[in-house]
């Protein structure tokens, strides 16, 4: 007997596609926003990323609608869009930021143009330092740190999202973690003193 695969599932009228999309994406929307914020570090880029993500998810609905758990698919799409944004930002900003010595990092507070007034109020010096350190990671390194260490996804889950073998993932995660430690923890002096020094430096 010949087996026939029905394609009717994707022949769904626009209205139904919209309501199905809303019903399936809504439970994940806040988590995706959080992840996007941790990747970009600011609200404006997060909103752009999320809008692009939702558009892509809508367009590719037929690819994930049948999945029991579509979140890895969503996170993978988010990562791909983040890579695009990251490359665009690098092209715009040039390689200057990336070529700075790591020792310069404590003096690099976020510029006023990069954060909204609300964010500036909410951000502690510590948080700004962390954002700057994260900015020194490349897109994949940051994504691994965000997914595993900040969002708490297990290694097998991250491996699925990133489509990496577990062993490769572990070594890349280790490298990313060591890089971040070097940026954040190998300080010549405690952070409180460091920021006092920043003030006197700018004065």
């Amino acid at each position: 007997m010949v087996s026939v695969t029905s394609l009717s599932s994707w022949l769904t009228p626009a209205r139904q596609r919209k309501s199905r999309f809303l019903a399936l994406v809504e439970p994940h929307s806040k988590t995706l926003y959080q992840t996007a914020y941790r990747l970009t570090g600011n609200q404006s880029d997060t909103e752009d990323l999320i809008q692009e993500l939702f558009l892509r998810l809508y367009q590719k609905q037929d690819h994930w609608v049948h999945l029991d758990n579509p979140r890895p698919w969503f996170l993978r799409s988010l990562y791909n869009l983040y890579i695009d944004l990251y490359r665009k930002r690098r092209r715009t900003a040039g390689a200057n930021d990336k070529s700075k010595q790591l020792d310069d990092l404590p003096y690099q507070l976020a510029s006023a143009a990069e954060v909204t007034p609300l964010e500036a109020t909410l951000d502690s010096d510590q948080q700004r330092l962390l954002k700057k350190a994260l900015d020194h990671l490349d897109a994949e390194e940051r994504n691994l740190i965000v997914l595993h260490l900040m969002e708490g996804y297990s290694l097998p889950e991250v491996a699925e999202i990133q489509q990496l073998p577990l062993g490769t993932l572990k070594s890349r995660l280790h490298r990313s973690k060591e890089k971040l430690k070097k940026l954040l923890l190998k300080e010549p002096f405690p952070s409180a003193e460091r920021f006092l020094k920043v003030v006197s430096y700018e004065d």
Binding site: A14, Q51, L55
Partner: protein, 210 residues
């Protein structure tokens, strides 16, 4: 000092606090506790990353806009589709009208199976797409010429989807509403490097000819 005691004391610190002289001395000689302390401080840093709540209504609005933007994008496809259709007609003449014959190394074939059921103006047109392998990203286009409409897609004359296809037979049933003048239905599939197209004239109250 024992490692267990050092680690217990380290865990009670926050990022602004320094270990006591005794613990600091232990850290200088104990790699295990040193690594533990670094991991712990990294975790504290990462936990301190506060994510603000999204603006009220932003997520709902963004999800709704995704559907609307997609709709506008599909309307923009019309001119492009028309240009492609013209060139596909040549390919169709070469391979036959409804069914591909033994074409040289055909990767896929498409057949149209006329459907007898007719409900007033509605006809179900069943299209069988025969694929020699699984395709993750086949592109299927439906163009409705003249007085034809696909039920559920009011006023849309060109529709396209990307869909996976299974090896073997893939059935697509199109509920076509046929107006007074009838019209021509055109279905195009692009599978990998191969493109196939079918054209079918449809009229009210008649079986598809061909």
């Amino acid at each position: 000092m024992q490692c267990i005691d050092a680690q217990r004391q380290l865990q009670s610190l926050d990022l602004d606090q320094q270990p006591s002289a005794l613990v600091a001395e232990h850290l200088r000689h104990c790699n295990q506790c040193h690594d533990f302390y670094e991991d712990f401080r990294l975790r504290l840093h990462l936990e301190s990353f506060a994510v603000p709540e999204p603006d009220p209504g932003f997520l709902q609005q963004a999800m709704k806009q995704a559907g609307q933007r997609q709709h506008r994008a599909s309307l923009g496809h019309r001119a492009w589709t028309a240009a492609v259709a013209a060139s596909l007609l040549v390919a169709l003449l070469l391979v036959g009208r409804w069914q591909l014959p033994e074409a040289p190394s055909p990767k896929t074939a498409m057949q149209l199976q006329p459907q007898a059921t007719s409900e007033q103006q509605l006809k179900e047109v069943r299209i069988l797409i025969v694929s020699d392998q699984d395709y993750q990203d086949a592109h299927i286009q439906v163009a409705l010429h003249e007085d034809l409409q696909l039920r559920g897609y009011d006023q849309q004359k060109n529709l396209s989807w990307r869909t996976p296809l299974k090896e073997g037979q893939n059935l697509l049933t199109l509920p076509i509403q046929i107006g007074q003048k009838g019209g021509q239905l055109e279905v195009t599939s692009r599978l990998g490097m191969h493109t196939h197209s079918l054209q079918l004239p449809l009229a009210r109250g008649e079986q598809p000819s061909g």
